[in-house]
Symmetry: C2
Subunit: 335 residues, 2 copies
DNA sequence: CTGAAAGCGCTTACAG
DNA sequence: CTGAAAGCGCTTACAG
């Protein structure tokens, strides 16, 4: 079978503990011993068994990544979070256990209570997320991506949707726009507790109200051709609006062709601003001025804080709720 | 700390082995004992430690999923494979270790030699895939999604790109088309050994030649606005072509707006056929007659065969190379 | 600088 | 039907 630490010890003529210490560097080893061990390891092709090590150290060096794929959600968005998380984890020495089960609460309980992971990342957290109670009861720490209603005792990371909305409204207001359409995520996103929907919308409406702007708020659609029909209906109903704020990936991806078909030129006939990630904008080549989110930063922060809590809980401090600052990228879709 | 099997045994007044057998059902237990154990388990909240179990059984119940994210590739496509794989694995009792490292060969060696997984799934396999040697040297079995040049000793699953191309050419030929444009994946996909590119293209050209058709072959682009420019240039250069076969997700996703902008009506002015998955077509609402691939079937087959090889190698038989049959979905984009 | 031994939490022959 | 014990492959106090 596989070569074990015992084989290495025998081959190098030392004890297993010495091999182990050589591996970990936790005590000093004479040069000659170290060399013999190194030689034995390479010539035998030894790699320490992860399970045995986990059992001995009670550290799996694995993080659970709990995703939820809402059938209605725009798939491309998910990968933008998963990849940076995986990369950052690896950088810190951790592997990723991908958990996609529909019954996320059950799955969370399973992987934590079986000790399969040292910590857990919850993606796509909603307002009242049923996973949170299970997480709080778990022996391992967790970090959330997405802001829930009750953050008690949890490390939370999210984009600053409120600030993003304000930045966009300010931008349009500064350019002289006085009647603005806001397209939010689809209604069912709100209904299932996707708080980013109302955090953005409410901030936008509030800001608009403060400036005395005429704001028109609509829900977006998640699929073509409904998106096109909906956008057309909205634009028909609001012929005097001069600007469009779109907070919906599916709509923004479809918008160029919808507006082209309608003969609407951007920004001459209509100013358009949005909120999406750099990667997303790039792969769909969205030419819109937008607040750019940074899924990679979000993921990085979440993983780093989680690992801190795992390895040095005393330094991790009190639970944090951290919002990633939005940045406005001007791309000429407004005037 | 966490509750162990010893706690359960003590609570139920039996030995650890009896608890273990009650858990596994590998020997008969008297009703009263079984009840006491069950009571102890629930009242203590016991879950067997996965690492300890793995060490004792040499089974981790984890599959490695090795993905490669080519920066040029269309992100949405990836998730269509990952999700069905994860679901099927869970159905069979396995969890998924997601490995996304750039140095995939190294990562593969790491997770296999450390015994972190019972088997491994390689996604996005290319013609001469450097991971294959490592896989062949590993103690665990593996399954590939994607056809490499040398399938020696490996279970391989892929879509039948050649047959897909033939089906589409046959369809167009049957409708009377005599001059056809084929848009393949981008050149760099070919260059890095993405064999699906030439498997499809070569089969299409060959079939066209057999029918005496005029076939024009081009590489696609991966991003807007280059895609639009390229398509426009191609259509300008081939004004008499009556049909378009598109084998490129990014191009097909962008095509509706490109053709609309050009004033080309489908199918009146141009027949369009493609090759994509149901999900993909749905989320981008592509109204094109197409050969539909089934990433879910692919993933399911790969996982099932892999698990068979893990659990009952004697029944898994000789290595298989299996192509998923394509299906033509007529959607009225041809005439 | 190094070794012998206990222990991590399970499973599974071996006995009865 | 059930238990005592060995073993999976590591790590880490404890000794020297």
């Amino acid at each position: 079978m596989a070569v074990t630490i015992t084989d290495v010890a025998r081959h190098a003529g030392v004890s297993r503990s010495t091999v182990s210490y050589a591996l970990s560097g936790k005590r000093s080893i004479s040069a000659s011993t170290r060399d013999r061990i190194a030689e034995a390891i390479t010539s035998l092709g030894f790699t320490a068994n992860a399970g045995a090590r986990a059992l001995a150290t009670s550290q799996t060096m694995v993080l659970g990544l709990l995703t939820q794929f809402h059938q209605d959600e725009f798939a491309p968005a998910m990968l933008q979070y998963v990849l940076p998380i995986s990369d950052t984890a690896r950088e810190l020495g951790y592997d990723i256990l991908l958990v996609t089960e529909l019954d996320a609460t059950d799955a969370l309980r399973r992987v934590t209570s079986a000790g399969m992971v040292d910590g857990v990342l919850l993606l796509d957290v909603i307002h009242e997320d049923p996973r949170l109670d299970t997480l709080r009861a778990a022996a391992q720490p967790g970090a959330l991506v997405g802001l829930p209603k009750d953050t008690e005792g949890l490390d939370v990371f999210d984009l600053d949707f409120g600030e993003s909305a304000r930045i966009l409204v300010d931008h349009l207001f500064g350019l002289g726009h006085r009647e603005i359409i806001v397209i939010s995520p689809p209604l069912h996103v709100f209904e299932r507790g996707g708080a980013y929907g109302w955090r953005f919308r409410d901030a936008a409406l509030e800001r608009g109200a403060r400036y005395g702007l005429q704001m028109h708020s609509y829900y977006g659609e998640s699929q073509q051709p409904t998106i096109g029909q909906s956008v057309n209906a909205i634009l028909d109903a609001r012929p005097t609006a001069t600007a469009l704020i779109v907070h919906n990936d599916a709509t923004i991806a479809a918008l160029p062709s919808i507006l082209a078909a309608r003969g609407v030129r951007v920004p001459d006939d209509l100013s358009v601003v949005s909120l999406f990630s750099k990667d997303f904008g790039r792969s769909f080549s969205l030419p819109y001025t937008a607040v750019e989110s940074s899924p990679d930063q979000l993921g990085q922060h979440a993983v780093r804080q989680l690992v801190r809590r795992i390895t040095t809980p005393e330094l991790a401090g009190a639970p944090v709720t951290r919002f990633i600052a939005p940045e406005l990228a001007i791309r000429g879709s407004t005037m």
